[in-house]
């Protein structure tokens, strides 16, 4: 795939606060890329620098190998779908969608056709003359999309576009976005703090925290092989516990040795171990390695979610399973080797702070 956008060594400060620090990223053509991270992590700032609403303090931006670092927003061939849609309240639906086309001096015929096409695409045919404040949130969202795509941008920047919608609508719109992406065949750069959204839609997810990229990869990679405690904790629920890598393919957790599939950490090295709650196997007492007592139990639809307190070191395991165990019941836990994910202990003080939080 061809390289489309390149961010090189971007640094951005707001006052004394460093939001982005030496941030580099390459986006390829026709990718659906998601910047995922907690609020304040710098993901929106990246999008705004791309859109031309902020200027980076240092670093360069290339678009199709041209330096666009100093190009103002209105000259960039990319369009943004804003968090709260930012529709023009004094214009009707059609005028909103036609805005960019009119500015670019397109013919009336072309504009009419384009607006028709865009409204069709977002399933809002016949809404041309509605006024903006008469639309529901989901409809406004679609108009915002339509307004951006009629300009045929090479890249669409989406800043938490589904944040203001309710759950049901949000799920619907996720499918809608995937469909749109396929039909348009352009690059989407999507910003969200919702990991489910990120995993559902993207080709590539970039997890960001404190202005740094924590991990980059396909949704599966991110979920199954988190590279550090932050990613593991941020993406889905996890049990993150300290352990010792005795040798390749053998790790000691809670005083018990578990075979695993990771290599290259060295011998007798302290590591972090990530085990997803659904990967913990609950067995009758004695049938597993770690002994524990069921503390709480909630039924959440498909399965039960339980906290099980380990007897050896009081660690509380988050566990999901289909069988029902009573509170106070004594059980044993086990994990199969491929579900054990080993990570290096964080080295920077920043990440230690995160560790403490966990």
């Amino acid at each position: 795939m061809k390289e489309l956008i390149k961010l090189e060594h971007i640094t951005k400060n707001f006052g004394n606060l460093r939001v982005l620090d030496d941030f580099s990223l390459t986006v390829h053509e026709n990718e659906f890329i998601t910047l995922l991270g907690p609020s304040g992590c710098g993901k929106t700032t990246i999008l705004r620098i791309l859109g031309g609403f902020e200027t980076a303090d240092e670093g360069k931006i290339f678009f199709e190998e041209k330096d666009i670092t100093d190009l103002p927003a209105n000259k960039r061939n990319l369009n943004t779908v804003f968090q709260k849609y930012a529709l023009f309240p004094h214009m009707n639906v059609k005028a909103n969608i036609a805005f960019g086309l009119k500015i670019n001096g397109k013919s009336q015929k072309y504009i009419d056709d384009k607006v028709d096409y865009a409204l069709n695409l977002v399933n809002l045919k016949g809404f041309e003359n509605r006024s903006i404040d008469k639309l529901s949130g989901g409809q406004q969202q679609r108009i915002a999309m339509a307004r951006a795509i009629v300009n045929e941008p090479k890249v669409l920047l989406l800043d938490e576009p589904l944040g203001a919608l309710d759950l049901k609508l949000r799920q619907e719109m996720q499918y809608e976005l995937i469909r749109l992406k396929k039909e348009l065949g352009i690059t989407f750069i999507y910003v969200t703090h919702d990991q489910e959204e990120a995993l559902t839609m993207s080709d590539k997810v970039i997890v960001i925290n404190d202005g740094y990229i924590q991990q980059m990869g396909t949704p599966e990679e991110i979920y199954n092989e988190p590279e550090n405690a932050f990613v593991a904790d941020f993406i889905g629920d996890s049990n993150i516990i300290g352990g010792t890598m005795i040798k390749d393919r053998l790790v000691k957790i809670n005083g018990h040795e578990f075979p695993c599939i990771d290599e290259g950490f060295g011998n007798n090295k302290l590591v972090d171990v990530v085990i997803r709650p659904e990967d913990v196997i609950v067995r009758e007492r004695g049938a597993g390695k770690i002994n524990g007592t069921v503390l709480t139990r909630v039924f959440i639809g498909v399965h039960y979610e339980m906290l099980i307190k380990s007897e050896e070191n009081e660690y509380e395991w988050l566990v999901q399973c289909y069988e029902k165990y009573d509170i106070g019941e004594k059980v044993s836990l086990d994990v199969i080797p491929s579900n054990i994910q080993i990570m290096n202990k964080p080295t920077s003080s920043d990440e230690e702070a995160i560790d403490l939080d966990i």
Binding site: K75, N79, F82, Q83, A86
Partner: protein, 271 residues
């Protein structure tokens, strides 16, 4: 709910005593002659060439000042909106503070500044420019009006503009609009309520002032406000003065209708 409504009772009494009755009083004086007989003469006196000329001059000067105020205030409001936080509060402060100096004194200060041998001419001459003779002319009055009423244009416009979501402006840039297109197609239509109330708050006082024309016009220029004021003081023909006031109220009614037309936000933006 009825008990809640009753809270407005003192206000209703005040409306009757402080607004309705006084307007009735003006109407009564305006529609009668010295002997309390009904007449339309005082109202129709606006057709008198002297009055008409003063009215025409007042409308003209008020229009000019309003336009100048708008042209100064609008870019300022946009700049104020886009300045960063700390500065924003400071700037509102900067433009409100002068209102705390008595406006008569501020106006009079212009007299001092513009006097033929005044401060401004002194400065101009010091840098080798010819002195300007604008004191006691129409320009001096316009300057006084712009000076006195500019904050009343800045504040309502700023109020409306500051409420425009930044992302709407960014969206317009994002869609390729240039700065001038953003101003004409986004800022202007969205700030109409503020503009209307700003225009009202500059136009009406400019139209009816007698103080500024008195202080800066050198007694050479009579605006309709001067005529009415003089009917009440110098000439003591209160009936004529009231009749002309009734005519002035027409303008106010028109401006009220204008305000009514535009969003209620216009009302809030007085503050």
């Amino acid at each position: 709910m009825t008990s809640k409504k009753a809270l407005a009772t003192p206000f209703m009494i005040w409306i009757v005593a402080g607004t309705i009755i006084p307007i009735g009083a003006i109407a009564y004086y305006g529609l009668t002659d010295r002997n309390d007989r009904f007449t339309l003469e005082n109202v129709l006196a606006i057709g008198n060439s002297v009055h008409l000329q003063a009215l025409w001059l007042s409308v003209l000067l008020a229009l000019i000042s309003t336009v100048i105020c708008f042209l100064i205030a609008y870019p300022l409001a946009i700049i104020m909106k886009n300045s960063n936080f700390g500065k924003r509060g400071f700037m509102i402060f900067l433009f409100i503070l002068p209102m705390w100096m008595n406006f008569l004194l501020r106006t009079m200060a212009w007299q001092v500044l513009l006097e033929k041998n005044g401060v401004i001419n002194g400065m101009l001459e010091a840098i080798g420019l010819p002195g300007q003779e604008i004191i006691n002319t129409l320009s001096a009055i316009v300057l006084g009006m712009v000076y006195d009423f500019l904050p009343f244009m800045i504040l309502p416009i700023y109020n409306v503009i500051s409420k425009i979501d930044d992302s709407i402006i960014e969206a317009a840039y994002d869609l390729g609009a240039s700065t001038s297109e953003v101003i004409t197609q986004i800022y202007l239509p969205l700030s109409v309520p503020g503009i209307v109330s700003g225009v009202n708050m500059v136009f009406i006082p400019s139209l009816t002032t007698f103080v500024i024309s008195n202080m800066l016009g050198g007694g050479k220029i009579n605006l309709i406000g001067n005529i009415i004021e003089q009917e009440f003081t110098v000439s003591s023909n209160w009936n004529l003065g009231s009749g002309l006031s009734l005519v002035m109220m027409l303008f106010i009614v028109v401006s009220m209708i204008f305000l009514e037309r535009f969003d209620k936000t216009g009302e809030d933006s007085f503050i």
